[in-house]
Symmetry: C2
Subunit: 395 residues, 2 copies
């Protein structure tokens, strides 16, 4: 009864649902505070107060037919201009309202970019490990996802293999920094190298290759690390941003796409992406939330809470003997499984009420992802359980 293309998704989905149900089952038996669920990337730090205040102000002050009404498919112009100016202040860019399209989160943003640019069979490159949904998004437009194998020493992108795999058929490259699932932030050096490879390959093939920067974790960076703004290093960069993590609004589905004037075919591309926003069914980003963002454009969540979790979990795991790089961004640790088949390790974790996501779910088996966007107590209380788990595996 369903489309052929959907069948593998439906089969695979039951695995995800089983994991979710396992969490609920454990919580119902042992109590929520005894289950160490590191499986979900759902922000634990609440949205800043500014959000609540802005919502109340807006519903009290703005005429409802405007506040909840249709606007251009790209979003309210004043909202886009406000965000553009904030980006310009922070990153020295030169965007204006016309370069931004408000979207239903970054997931929708990536979809409208891919819909705007991808012809069937064209290749979109990304670096493993990666958010598996990229594959679904690319398949939505009959593109072909080409993946670069991971550099498991640094989890910086493997640029040698990248260079080899770019072809005349390469339409775009998706990068994600700070990175899910490793927490790595791409250094300026890496980005410069990546940009120069793309420049060369564009010349070699006489093609345009877009660099799509998926940045829901931009504001979650620690140790004072810089997260370079990619449009400044490569003209054909398109940004997909989300407020899901930066303002803890994942359920509200609010983000934007930036298409700079410098990008090849910028005007046509902005038009195509705006139309894609309409015909993929989003029509526009939620109107009230657009106006909330404009009022809270410089607000921040309390990143220090994530930083505290990061340090406690990282140190705790290292003390247990686990191998892991210390991430500088996002809210994930990517831990080496003590056995080759990390699913076995995940299964063993459940005995200690520890829920982890296998690295296979990010095209990087042999590792597990821990989302530390949980309470600090959960981190601390989980450490004895991790200790037992480590001992079981002879660490």
């Amino acid at each position: 009864m369903i489309a052929e293309k959907m069948k593998p998704f439906v089969q695979n989905n039951s695995a995800i649902r089983m994991m979710f149900e396992e969490g609920n089952r454990l919580r119902s038996i042992y109590g929520a505070d005894k289950v160490f669920d590191f499986s979900l990337g759902n922000p634990s730090v609440p949205a800043p107060d500014c959000i609540r205040e802005a919502i109340i102000e807006l519903v009290n002050e703005v005429e409802p037919t405007v506040l909840h009404g249709y606007m251009s498919n790209a979003g309210f112009e004043d909202v886009r201009q406000t965000i553009a100016e904030s980006l310009n202040r922070r990153f020295g860019t030169a965007f204006s309202a016309k370069n931004l399209i408000m979207t239903v989160g970054a997931a929708s943003g990536l979809n409208i970019i891919l819909k705007a640019i991808t012809n069937p069979g064209e290749e979109i490159i990304t670096f493993a490990p990666y958010f598996l949904e990229y594959g679904s998004y690319v398949r939505n437009y009959d593109g072909k996802l080409v993946t670069i194998s991971p550099d498991t020493t640094t989890f910086q992108p493997n640029l040698k293999e990248f260079e080899e795999k770019i072809t005349a058929n390469t339409r775009a490259v998706i990068v994600n920094t700070p990175h899910n699932p490793t927490g790595v932030v791409y250094s300026e050096e890496t980005i410069k190298k990546l940009a120069s490879i793309l420049e060369e390959k564009q010349k070699e093939f006489g093609t345009v290759i877009y660099l799509i920067s998926d940045e829901p974790y931009r504001e979650l960076a620690y140790d004072g690390v810089e997260v370079p703004y990619l449009t400044k290093y490569y003209a054909n960069t398109i940004v997909g941003y989300s407020y899901s993590k930066s303002l803890s609004l994942p359920g509200e589905r609010i983000g934007y796409v930036v298409i700079p004037d410098e990008a090849d075919g910028s005007e046509e591309l902005i038009s195509a992406a705006t139309i894609a926003n309409r015909i993929n069914g989003s029509v526009n980003a939620p109107s009230l939330m657009q106006k909330v963002i404009a009022k809270c454009v410089d607000a921040e969540v309390d990143v220090s809470a994530y930083d505290k979790n990061r340090t406690a979990l990282y140190n705790g795991l290292k003390e247990c003997g686990f191998e892991c790089i210390k991430p500088q961004g996002a809210f994930y640790l990517f831990v080496k499984s003590p056995v080759e088949n990390e699913k076995e390790f995940c299964e063993a974790g459940k005995k200690y009420n520890i829920l982890m996501v296998p690295g296979s779910s990010f095209a990087c088996p042999g590792y597990v992802r821990l989302a530390y966007c949980v309470s600090y107590d959960t981190i601390i209380n989980s450490l004895p359980a991790f200790k037992k788990l480590a001992e079981e595996f002879g660490l």
Copy 2:
């Protein structure tokens, strides 16, 4: 620089933008109150007070990580259950939370249904005149839109031609009642006939044909007319609903899909549509608005304001000599152009600051659509202008 598939959209889009800009141009010259813009289906009646009150209550009472957080891709279970129970009370149906998927408006709802069921080349039937976006949505999944020519006497669906055009390759039929652009409400008799044709054709071809009911205008019905609930007449009905018009929230992008237990492959279909919600980039319907809907589940906009507009504009146009059926729903009049090429008539209207949408934009040339979701003053003030326009065309 853009995908081949997007090129016709970009070309066509400039025509729509030109119409929008023409409105702005006229308003800047003559003042907003002197321009009679009947081109946009943007609700003029404000959202009921309940919406504002619910928003304020929710942001003051619900923990932000829950209120703005991720939930199941189908939406909050309590919200879906509340809506299901409201439908059951009103229509004698037997839905529960599992039959509903909260969506980013009806446009996204139609997209996830079509993505869930459509294989490339399969046919989706609809009745002209129709909302041209149906064509875009069907093409998103490489389906083929098959259209039934209009019955311009009643604008009820032409069931004879419908019966003839159903093939073994027909996957679904989209209906829209109350109807954009005609305002017609399909009678119970029509729906029974349509259902019986579908039943027979399913038997004849040994196929499953879904009836997709696109119902953003369900609550906008006048003269006490009944709008039959389609799942009660045909088991393979899927509903796409939106609060855009019923609660005047078009910018918020909130609606739902109903897949009844009676539909063939219901469980698999619910799963596929929920996954489609995720991978098309919506992920989930906006979280705050989901909870607002649950609190306002029985709220209504002031439909009497639209009814007053309807009567005044209909009577005024008839007095001028225009031909038009009196609609019983939605907020549109579909008026016969006094000349064959209705675009000529639309152009002439601009001289009197009247903005109308040509019927060609709904695959029904020779007619124009007037959206009467404007202020009552606009209606009254436009009548002398329509009088002059009628005289110009010798009516």
